[in-house]
């Protein structure tokens, strides 16, 4: 017999509660898009004003490391989708396993990113950390600033996502998260993860592939 969780105030029924949670997550994601939108606007302005220097600066980044990271994140999104699928069927351990795998891939992304930062630091490309800079033009300096802020902000969001997925994975496996009744929880978290992924999918070409 399936235990139905009582519907929270002020909802009339479970469906209304679920709809509200989904809309809430979409609205939140909209605000996140505006947050990164500001950075994309800065990038667009920079590209419009100084096209040649932006291309030069972009070439200095490690395209292949970025490409690997992109593949890592896309795969993690796939894992999250699989986790949601398990959750819909009430398979707690499957849900937990896929979420854990996705979170691990997220951690792999972060590790690769840290390695990439260390490379750039050694090459004298990273501003602001006290190292001697081998940046030649002011525009390259501004570009690397933007790169640092944008990827740093993205990494912060990714870290939050990793923690979120881990917590949900643990709760799913331990049974504290009722599945499939509370499938909305992994669905909403999944939406967040997918957005972090999509933001990277736009950041990568804007930063690494400007030609």
């Amino acid at each position: 017999m399936v235990e139905t969780r009582p519907v929270a105030e002020p909802y009339r029924d479970a469906r209304q509660q679920r709809d509200a949670a989904m809309l809430g997550m979409y609205v939140f994601l909209g605000s996140e898009i505006m947050l990164f939108g500001g950075l994309f606007a800065v990038a667009a302005v920079m590209r419009l004003l100084h096209p040649a220097e932006v291309v030069e600066a972009s070439k200095a980044l490690h395209v292949w490391i970025g490409a690997i990271n992109t593949a890592v994140l896309l795969t993690s999104s796939l894992f999250v989708a699989l986790a949601v699928d398990c959750a819909k069927r009430g398979r707690r351990r499957g849900t937990g396993a896929w979420l854990f795998s996705a979170a691990s891939l997220g951690a792999v992304f972060l590790a690769i990113k840290v390695y990439e930062y260390s490379l750039e630091h050694a090459e004298g490309l990273l501003p602001g950390l006290g190292a001697p800079l081998k940046i030649s033009t002011p525009v390259q300096r501004a570009f690397m600033d933007l790169y640092l802020v944008a990827t740093g902000l993205h990494a912060l969001h990714l870290l939050i996502g990793i923690l979120l997925l881990l917590v949900i994975a643990i709760r799913a496996v331990s049974g504290r998260l009722l599945l499939p009744e509370r499938v909305i929880v992994p669905v909403a978290a999944g939406l967040y993860w997918h957005l972090v992924d999509v933001i990277w999918v736009f950041l990568y070409p804007v930063l690494y592939l400007a030609r």
Partner: protein
């Protein structure tokens, strides 16, 4: 400067008069758009007071034509004023070519004005009537804004670029100028005098002011003293773009674009040489960011402007 309070500011130029005319006309429009509303509200509040007998039959609660007309008609009136105002505004972006050019450097918390023949003033600006005056302005530090109420003009002075303010003053007298963009602690006291003189008075003032030499000559001294002629002079072994006759001509840049060599271009070439490299030249010019002040750069710009073809001296 101080005296009894008048409720309308002094007007020292024809342009200022046009602004005042616009303001008065526009005020008439907005009063016409709003006063009836206030009157109507008060009238209705009285006439239809609760408990007071009145004809309240068949009140409407919607009328699309009414809505559309009281939206569209005022909007068209506004558009008329928009066109008028934009035209006045556009004039500010087209300074006449033969204007008397005065350089301005703003810094926390003072104004320095440099006349072309080298006369300098601090917090006071003397200008003649009868000819257009163009101020080329630079900031040493933060954003300032030169505001001359009697001309109805202001322009922000932004670090990293030159901004321009031009006018034709026609009423001699002493007026106020002020900084109108918050710039730190002493923003409130970063003001001064704006003195409009007849041409004769202005000429006399110029003669009486201590002068080292003209701005261009001072710029030339800097050009040689700071080593610019080492690369850009005729005897140089380094491949550097020639500067004779450069000002105002198009320059081909690395990367394919072409730009006109104006004051901003020359300034950026000195302070941010990597920003726009001339095509075919190595990008090896060092920056003079920490060596030259904005004032110095303005003088060098004046010098380069004065160079005709083949003028570069040792």
């Amino acid at each position: 400067m101080s005296g009894p309070l008048s409720l309308w500011p002094e007007q020292a130029s024809g342009y200022g008069g046009e602004i005042d005319l616009f303001v008065i006309a526009f005020t008439v429009l907005i009063v016409a758009l709003s006063a009836p509303v206030f009157v109507v509200i008060v009238l209705f509040a009285a006439k239809y007071r609760r408990g007071r007998p009145a004809d309240r039959e068949h009140p409407q609660d919607r009328n699309v034509w009414l809505e559309v007309s009281w939206s569209i008609i005022p909007f068209f009136a506004l558009i008329g004023f928009f066109v008028w105002s934009t035209d006045l505004f556009a004039r500010l972006y087209h300074p006449p070519k033969d204007a008397l050019e005065i350089d301005v450097v703003a810094r926390q918390w003072m104004w320095k004005f440099q006349h072309p023949e080298g006369q300098g003033e601090i917090n006071e600006l003397h200008v003649p009537t009868g000819e257009p005056v163009k101020l080329v302005m630079a900031s040493q530090d933060v954003i300032h804004s030169l505001y001359i109420p009697a001309l109805r003009l202001k322009q922000d002075v932004v670090p990293g670029r030159y901004t321009v303010l031009w006018f034709n003053a026609d009423k001699p007298g002493t007026y106020r100028l002020a900084c109108a963009e918050f710039c730190g602690t002493d923003h409130s006291v970063m003001g001064g005098s704006f003195v409009i003189q007849t041409p004769a008075e202005y000429a006399r003032w110029l003669q009486q002011s201590t002068v080292d030499c003209s701005l261009a000559a001072q710029g030339g001294a800097l050009f040689r003293g700071r080593g610019c002629s080492g690369c850009h002079g005729p005897a140089s072994t380094v491949k550097a773009p020639p500067l004779e006759g450069l000002f105002g001509k198009p320059v081909a840049l690395e990367g394919g674009a072409t730009i006109i060599a104006d004051e901003q271009y020359i300034r950026d070439s000195i302070l941010l040489p990597q920003k726009q490299v001339a095509a075919g030249y190595p990008a090896i010019m060092p920056t003079f960011e920490n060596v030259l002040s904005e004032e110095d750069v303005l003088k060098i710009v004046a010098y380069i402007k004065s160079l005709g073809p083949g003028d570069l001296t040792q």
